[in-house]
């Protein structure tokens, strides 16, 4: 294994890791504010790719318009899911919302199967995302540069929103305590709804980038990325936004390196991600960048 090969593998890892990072941001943001893991995140990602597909196929939109259309539609959908499946359970124990999320996840998955059919479809790939850049013997597609840039911008945007704006302050207050936040005059329904809408928009961006890199979509396409990005978020410290990005990159690079250097273990690629999750939960449950928070039980 020479140095150029190592660089190529590193580039491949960054390409995969940036996708994980992008999706993990949405996961961790919802968790950070609502202390709730949205298990339907993977399905929202999947729907976003289908919205693009139908936007182009049925309304013959140019790809960039289809992307915007998909992001808006997905955000509205996220808002709708929150209203229907999570809001009525706001005062129930947290576990009820979690079960509701799993239910939503299966519902969307199977509904999509019925509506869209199980045959995998091709996702559009505008040539701007597939251009090749060559450094010596190392070849990198343009999407490998674009995804981390988008992840960086969204990371900055979300961090800024949460830490520096009035809405962000309301979000943080809501995260601390619903009742007290309400007493302080915060419309927590609106804040929670906004969090979900934003989380879904982030999922849509992640889904679109995923589709551009791996242009095959079917109703189960979101499941694995959803789980992997959940792992990435936990590794980085769930609730911590830069941590999600770090976790995503780590997971992507480690996966590729595992396949590249230990080809015999290729079959354990997904298992490896889950082993990593278990190790992190045992050794450092708060994740790499997570802080220790005294949580009320």
């Amino acid at each position: 294994m020479n140095f150029q090969l190592f660089l190529q593998n590193l580039a491949n890892g960054i390409s995969l890791g940036s996708l994980y990072a992008l999706i993990a941001i949405g996961y961790t943001m919802v968790y950070g504010i609502l202390r709730f893991i949205n298990f339907a995140h993977g399905e929202i990602i999947m729907l976003a790719t289908y919205f693009v597909y139908f936007g182009i196929l049925i309304f013959s939109m140019p790809w960039w318009l289809a992307f915007i259309f998909s992001i808006i539609l997905t955000s509205l959908l996220g808002m709708g899911i929150e209203k229907v499946a999570y809001k009525p359970l706001r005062d129930s124990p947290r576990i009820s919302i979690l079960i509701s999320a799993i239910g939503v996840s299966f519902l969307i998955q199977n509904l999509s199967l019925v509506i869209f059919g199980g045959r995998p479809k091709a996702f559009c790939q505008p040539s701007i995302f597939t251009k090749m850049v060559t450094f010596g013997n190392v070849k990198i597609t343009s999407i490998t540069f674009i995804t981390p840039i988008i992840a960086g911008i969204l990371l900055y945007f979300v961090t800024y929103l949460v830490n520096n704006t009035k809405t962000g302050m309301a979000m943080r207050a809501t995260a601390k305590d619903f009742d007290t936040a309400k007493l302080m005059g915060i419309d927590i329904d609106k804040i929670i709804s906004l969090t979900f809408t934003l989380g879904s928009a982030l999922a849509a961006v992640g889904g679109i980038m995923w589709g551009l890199r791996y242009p095959q979509i079917h109703p189960f396409i979101g499941t694995m990325p959803g789980l992997k990005c959940f792992i990435a978020a936990v590794v980085g410290g769930i609730g911590n936004i830069p941590g999600a990005v770090l976790g995503g990159f780590m997971l992507g690079i480690m996966e590729i390196m595992l396949v590249a250097f230990l080809p015999g273990l290729t079959g354990y690629r997904d298992a490896f991600a889950f082993v990593l999750l278990i190790i992190i939960l045992l050794v450092r449950p708060t994740g790499i960048l997570g802080e220790k928070i005294a949580e009320k039980v």
Binding site: N2, L5, Q8, N9, N12, S15, L16, I37, R94, I95, L98, I99, I102, F106, L113, G117, G118, R119, P120, K121, A122, Q125, T130, M132, T134, N137, K139, T141, R213, Y214, P215, Q216, H218, P219, F220, M224, I238, E255, I256, M257, L258, V259, A260, P263, T266, G267, R269, L281, P285, E295, V297
Partner: protein
């Protein structure tokens, strides 16, 4: 996350898993007795999941045959269709549902060797015959006297592709990338390897053997290690979706080798997903429009074009068509809808004229047929040649 919530999360996940695997198990006995005037033939095919296109193409052929020949022994043939979801366990469940709930006389299916190997033992234990349309792994029918198929098997297919690589492409080295979770892919890869070593006479002609599994989307790790080896051909049989993405990523990494595969690549999605990257890909398949072999081929083509005007006639539809006709023929010869009698009649199938060729089932229940080589050219599958069995 504290221990208590962690425990709860685990519990919820477990419940979720049971909920999905457990549903649809309640059975109602169908009121139809054995004396009814319908004969039921079960179909289990992957209508959803990674092999959905293959299963749906096959089903189109089966339905077409059912429309053209809806009766046998003066009774109506009713198709009972189950989706095996491209899942080995689901395939076994589908077969037992067909047998126990719907009491079918015979079964047709399934696209995908792994799926057929999931369903096979269930049918054998219940004594109901199954005719496979396109599962090509030899293990599907081996030691299962109730499983038959209307297609050739992988030792032959592997040899055909290896021969083409060696003789027509002049390839001296090859790399193999297989889907380790797919019996079809693993089996075919091994037969290709054996045949290619025989042809080249070089023990080291296979420069790399790499693996992935169904559902993987990123193959850059595997492909990067092939890149510097520069093999003449890369043999990568697998589901059309994964294969198309794999070839795309290979081209992005600058791998210039010719990509070769098996019959599963013949799906329109392979072209849609792979786009320009799959140009030049070569694979073997069962049937081609260009060289109709029997008068039934012509009949099938005409009917297919009428019913599914938008779609190209393909090998899987033709094999589904043939599987149905072979079963119907066996029921006719058996003179009853008794599964055991149908099995015995199936084993005697000789010189049956199907759309994909003359079908004679050997002692394993396999058909010996010619293979067709096709190539992707200009965004289409182009017929290259026919290879007859020796």
């Amino acid at each position: 996350m504290n221990k208590k919530t962690l425990f709860m999360v685990m519990a919820v996940i477990l419940i979720g898993v049971f909920a999905i695997t457990g549903c649809g198990q309640q059975t109602e006995k169908s009121p139809a007795g054995t004396d009814s005037d319908v004969i039921k033939i079960g179909v289990y095919e992957p209508l959803t999941g990674a092999s959905a296109a293959g299963g749906q193409m096959t089903l189109e052929g089966i339905k077409l045959a059912n429309e053209m020949y809806p009766e046998v022994l003066g009774k109506k043939i009713e198709l009972v269709i189950e989706d095996n979801k491209t899942d080995k366990t689901e395939a076994a469940n589908a077969v037992s549902r067909l047998i126990e709930k719907h009491e079918v006389s015979a079964i047709i299916g399934s696209y995908g060797s792994s799926l057929s190997m999931g369903g096979g033992p269930v049918a054998r234990d219940a004594g109901v015959p199954v005719v496979g349309c396109s599962p090509t792994n030899p293990l599907v029918t081996l030691d299962n006297e109730y499983y038959f198929r209307v297609c050739f098997i992988d030792p032959f297919q592997g040899k055909v592709v290896a021969k083409y690589a060696y003789e027509s492409l002049g390839a001296k080295t090859a790399a193999i990338i297989m889907d380790a979770s797919n019996d079809y892919s693993v089996g075919l890869s091994n037969f290709f390897k054996k045949a290619f070593i025989e042809f080249t006479g070089d023990e080291n002609c296979i420069v790399a053997e790499l693996k992935y599994k169904t559902g993987d989307q990123d193959f850059t790790g595997q492909l990067t290690s092939i890149k510097e080896l520069k093999p003449d051909v890369v043999f990568a049989p697998g589901n059309y979706g994964e294969s198309a993405i794999l070839i795309k990523q290979a081209r992005e990494l600058g791998i210039e080798s010719v990509f070769m595969g098996g019959d599963t690549w013949e799906a329109p999605e392979f072209l849609d997903i792979g786009e320009a990257a799959v140009e030049g890909a070569i694979f073997s398949t069962h049937y081609t429009e260009e060289a109709p072999v029997t008068e039934v081929s012509g009949e099938f083509l005409k009917a297919f074009k009428e019913k599914y005007s938008g779609n190209e006639a393909n090998a899987f539809a033709a094999l589904g068509f043939d599987a149905y006709l072979v079963v119907r023929d066996a029921i006719e010869r058996a003179g009853s809808a008794d599964p055991q009698a149908i099995r015995d009649a199936l084993a005697e199938t000789k010189g049956f004229k199907g759309a994909t060729g003359i079908i004679t089932l050997d002692e394993n229940g396999d058909a010996e047929k010619s293979a067709v080589i096709k190539k992707v050219e200009g965004g289409k599958f182009v017929f290259v040649g026919v290879v007859d069995p020796e």
